[in-house]
Amino acid sequence: MYAQMVKSTGHGVKPLDEMDPQERAFQERIDAGDKIEPKDWMPDGYRKNLIRQIGQHAHSEIVGQLPEGNWITRAPTLERKAILLAKVQDEAGHGLYLYCAAETLGVSRDELTRMLLDGKMKYSSIFNYPTLTWADMGAVGWLVDGAAIMNQVPLQRTSYGPYARAMVRICKEESFHQRQGFDIMMKMANGTDAQKKMAQDALNRFWFPSLMMFGPSDKDSVHSAQSMAWRIKMNTNDELRQKFVDQTVPQAEYLGLTVPDPDLRWNDETGQYDFSEPNWDEFFDVISGNGPCNTERLNTRKQAWDDGAWVRDGMLAHAAKRKSQGIAAQ
């Protein structure tokens, strides 16, 4: 998902009776549904894993502003422009809520930024695809935010208090994002032939990348089992992907659009849709840096950081000067 490839440390889940007393008490608190707070003792692996997961999630929110930011100046009406601007601003906020949750684990904000810019931390593969037409703004809100919601709603119950609280704030804001996207899709799908074509084309390009957002199948992954035992992952990737397909297909039908999967069909026996797997080679290629926009996205973030340096330096110098003059900032 927004944290697609976070591998936990360790080798599978240790049974309770093999844990030392401290670790065992910790696991029992989690099993009882207790929240872990920043100053509480926690296993090293739990801390490291969370830093990677929350950090990757935060980076995804920040980099995720770019594909939509691409269309702010070209939105078709002033109202659409204001809405898109508000949506993108929310994503900046989501990044900030998450960075502050990660910071409670002892990593600094600047360190996290540095790891993103150095390519040592990842962000969701979905943001390495280009947004070519206005209909893509609809598809992104509808599908990408839709997939994000699917993952974020259960994470409101995650075991780490600051992460769970950040998720509660984020979830309150996400529904607007998906609805504004679907609203764009409805307009386009009911518009001229050319507009309808654009809507279909956007769905064609974003369908499989959206399914990839949930990450590869993790049925047999020990990493994923450990994360689930720690309650920092609440569902398997396949569960969430299935849920997303089941929810989204009827919405596409409502729009009169065709999901670009010839093998998609309702399965009466299972009570859910059968569908094709995305191309996982493409996924691994994109996540390792070779997607259509990886270089551009990272360069844009680097430039934003570098261009902002004089502002940060200036503000610090100003604060230091006022402090030395004994002026309280009022």
């Binding site: 707070e37 100053k39 509480d40 003792w41 508000a86 601003q89 929310d90 906020g93 900030l96 809520y97 502050c100 910071e103 600094s108 904000r109 600047d110 540095r114 810019l117 609280r165 950040a166 704030r169 804001e173 950081w305 570098d306 340096a309 940060r312 330096d313 503000m315 610090l316 100003h318 604060a319 006022r322 402090k323 309280a328 900032a329 009022q330």
Partner: protein
């Protein structure tokens, strides 16, 4: 990347609309209190979440340690008579 020192961390407290007390909502980075207030407005009150904001530099906060939970809070456990439900009042008395 510049190696400038990091902007300090501030904790943000917001008073909601309903005459409640200020409540901790999260943190942010800013050079000084003035900038912290402005950032808090943008990050934490985009949807009328509050009518008043407090910002406090995180370094200024003294917190109790999780290990002190016992000595700090356990003594209250044995003082059940501090709760009104400790006392049985006859029904004839009505509400009290």
């Amino acid at each position: 990347m510049s190696n400038a020192p990091e902007l300090p961390l501030w904790e943000v407290f917001i008073r909601g609309q309903h005459g409640l007390s200020h409540r901790h909502v999260g943190s942010l980075h800013a050079a000084d209190a003035e900038a912290a207030l402005k950032n808090a407005r943008d990050v934490y009150t985009r949807r009328n979440e509050g009518v008043s904001i407090w910002v406090v530099e995180a370094a200024q906060i003294t917190a109790s340690a999780p290990g002190d939970k016992g000595p700090l809070f356990e003594p209250a456990n044995s003082k059940v008579y501090r709760h009104p439900t400790f006392f049985d009042i006859p029904d004839e008395i009505g509400s009290m």
